[in-house]
């Protein structure tokens, strides 16, 4: 999966779950998560290699 699919799927998953673990090896995912969190006021943390925990606020 390449940009912007991981972020689209993430936003969809967050609609029904308060917390989502995102696995993505797309090089655009981390910079996009940073910008997306700022724009949509969500929170992310890096929990492993290509692994992120995202919480909706």
């Amino acid at each position: 999966m390449r940009c912007p699919i991981p972020i689209i799927k993430l936003a969809k998953a967050l609609e029904t779950n308060p917390e989502v673990t995102l696995l993505s090896d797309d090089p655009a995912t981390l910079p996009d998560l940073i910008a997306w969190s700022r724009m949509t006021k969500n929170q992310y943390s890096i929990v492993g290699i290509n692994k992120y925990l995202v919480k909706s606020l």
Binding site: C3, P4, P27, I34, A35, W36, M39, T40
Partner: protein
């Protein structure tokens, strides 16, 4: 060399918002004449050579006047990218530190690898905290970023040597007082491609990083007709820009306002106070830039993009990533001097329809 009189626009670039533009019509009208008059080797002494030397000097005077340097500091490069090496490696010495910014061009990243450069981070608004430096340190400094259009604050406190990358700004931004070396690209003022203008403030600290046997900065072959055409383009473009600047700012503000109000979920680089009016970069959330660029192309509109999906190596723009701007769904627009409000409104209307469709 004179460009007075009416100039007919030949290649129409309506609806074209990509970075490149055709050769300025004033230069285009002049170029056959330039090839007739400037073909001889200016370093020889026959009549035609003398004429070529005179034309080259006239062109140097024009560049000097517009770029804010002395005519004896003007040099030309038939490979503009070589100027990054000639401008930075040349003023480094044992123990020098080499500072560059995260939004510098990839040529600077390559040189930073070579010289163990120290990367300065860039904030979301494009601001950079410059060090004070020591006299032998080097700072690579962009007049403005060609991707985002954000104008850099002048590093007036920096005490070392300053390489000025003016390749994206042309003559639109003045050289800082403390410049050491500087590079421009003829494309920035609708001049011919494949021509760089290079200058050294003080030759006593400059060491040629290329193999050389004489005092020349570059021994590459130079086309005097192209240099002349570029000088004509610089004069004409500067005049056009002075006339159109206020309109371009209006269009820029209009696009920013429309994106926020009518499209939404958009990350726009800088503000109209921090960017040049003729460049604009924005990223649309949940949009695949490749599909967006293709759809726009189908409607006869060209834009550029810094998104991974639209780049050859699938890596997102290092500039957007470094600033923390959204890297997907990115659109980079250049508003040309001949862009009209009609072009802008047509673009916005088309963009809104495409984005609504792609976001479904």
């Amino acid at each position: 060399m004179s460009t007075t009189g009416t100039v007919l626009r030949v290649g129409s670039i309506t609806n074209q918002f990509q970075r490149e533009s055709p050769l300025h019509p004033a230069a285009r009208a002049f170029i056959a004449d330039a090839f007739d008059r400037g073909w001889a080797d200016p370093s020889k002494i026959h009549g035609e050579s003398r004429q070529a030397a005179i034309l080259l000097n006239e062109a140097k005077e024009i560049f000097a006047a517009h770029l804010g340097i002395r005519s004896n500091q003007v040099d030309f490069l038939s490979d503009p990218a070589l100027g990054f090496h000639l401008g930075s490696s040349s003023v480094l010495q044992e123990g020098s530190r080499f500072y560059f910014s995260a939004v510098d061009r990839s040529e600077i990243y390559a040189l930073a690898n070579l010289h163990h450069g120290e990367k300065l981070s860039v904030a979301l608004d494009g601001s950079i905290a410059y060090p004070k430096g020591r006299p032998t340190d080097l700072l690579s400094w962009q007049t403005l970023n060609g991707e985002t259009g954000i104008i850099s604050a002048q590093p007036s406190e920096f005490t070392g040597r300053l390489f000025v990358d003016a390749s994206a700004s042309g003559a639109a931004i003045a050289l800082p007082q403390n410049w050491s070396t500087a590079l421009w690209n003829s494309q920035a003022w609708e001049g011919p491609t494949g021509l760089g203008v290079f200058a050294v403030a003080d030759r006593s600290i400059w060491r040629n990083p290329l193999p050389h046997i004489d005092q020349r900065i570059s021994s590459s072959e130079l086309s005097i007709p192209l240099v002349m055409a570029s000088a004509i383009a610089l004069e004409a473009h500067t005049r056009d820009y002075a006339e159109n600047r206020a309109s371009l700012l209006l269009y820029n503000n209009r696009i920013r306002q429309f994106l926020a109000a009518e499209i939404g979920d958009v990350d726009i680089a800088g503000s109209s106070n921090t960017t040049v009016p003729y460049l604009l970069s924005f990223s649309l959330l949940y949009i695949d830039a490749e599909r967006l660029v293709n759809e726009l192309t189908r409607q006869g509109i060209s834009v550029d993009s810094g998104s991974a999906c639209s780049s050859a190596n699938m890596e997102p723009s290092h500039v957007l990533a470094a600033m923390g701007l959204l890297t997907h769904g990115n659109v980079r627009m250049t508003l040309h001097n001949q862009t009209t409000l009609v072009d802008v409104e047509a673009f916005l209307k088309t963009l809104k329809i495409i984005v609504e469709d792609l976001r479904k």
